[in-house]
């Protein structure tokens, strides 16, 4: 069964550094998302991406964040100048046209720790 994959599984970085989190969505899906989950809290929407542009973003997704689909398979989240409060699990998700795009399929996550 097709899966969303994410790399790395864990990332430790120093405050102020840039990180890039990578995702390979399910191959025939057209909608891509990033969510985050701070330890002990609920999953929160960051951004959705369709047709090579951002379709919706939350208040969390400020100028330090950016997303890109550099080729036909990868979808990345870049965090410039990381802050301590960016420490969280980051989940990539994708959804497709077949059967509607309501159901989003999530990857295993990248655990980001900012020191």
């Amino acid at each position: 069964e097709p899966e969303v994959t994410q790399t790395p599984s864990h990332q430790v970085t120093q405050m102020g550094q840039e990180v890039i989190l990578r995702c390979v969505p399910i191959s025939n899906h057209l909608y891509f998302y990033w969510y985050r989950q701070i330890l002990g809290q609920k999953v929160e929407f960051l951004v959705s991406f369709y047709n090579n542009e951002i379709s919706e973003k939350s208040e969390i997704f400020d100028d330090q964040f950016s997303v890109e689909r550099p080729d036909g398979s990868n979808f990345t989240l870049k965090i410039r100048s990381t802050k301590l409060e960016d420490s969280a699990m980051y989940f990539c998700a994708s959804s497709g046209l077949a059967g509607g795009h309501e159901t989003q399929y999530f990857g295993p996550g990248t655990r980001l720790l900012v020191l």
């Binding site: 999953v43 919706e56 989940f91 159901t103 996550g109």
Partner: protein
Amino acid sequence: SQKIEQNSEALNIQEGKTATLTCNYTNYSPAYLQWYRQDPGRGPVFLLLIRENEKEKRKERLKVTFDTTLKQSLFHITASQPADSATYLCVVPTGGGNKLTFGTGTQLKVEL
């Protein structure tokens, strides 16, 4: 804004019993509602989707109901097993529709 309320207290039940988890939403009725499962340190896994014009949906040992009058969904696991132990998340679309809003989840523990 839409708020999703789930019982934050863990639910402990015996193997073989039926687990019932509750989800209440505060605002407008969503066009559909979903339930996901999340294991510690893992991503959410889709279980079931129920639309606003459906009263009930079943999949194997899982059953979901959707009551737009009460603004509530119930999630049932029958003949529960220790492998069903996880956190169960109630999820609804908000905003433009692509954005999902998650509840805090209810942790279920099935004991032998």
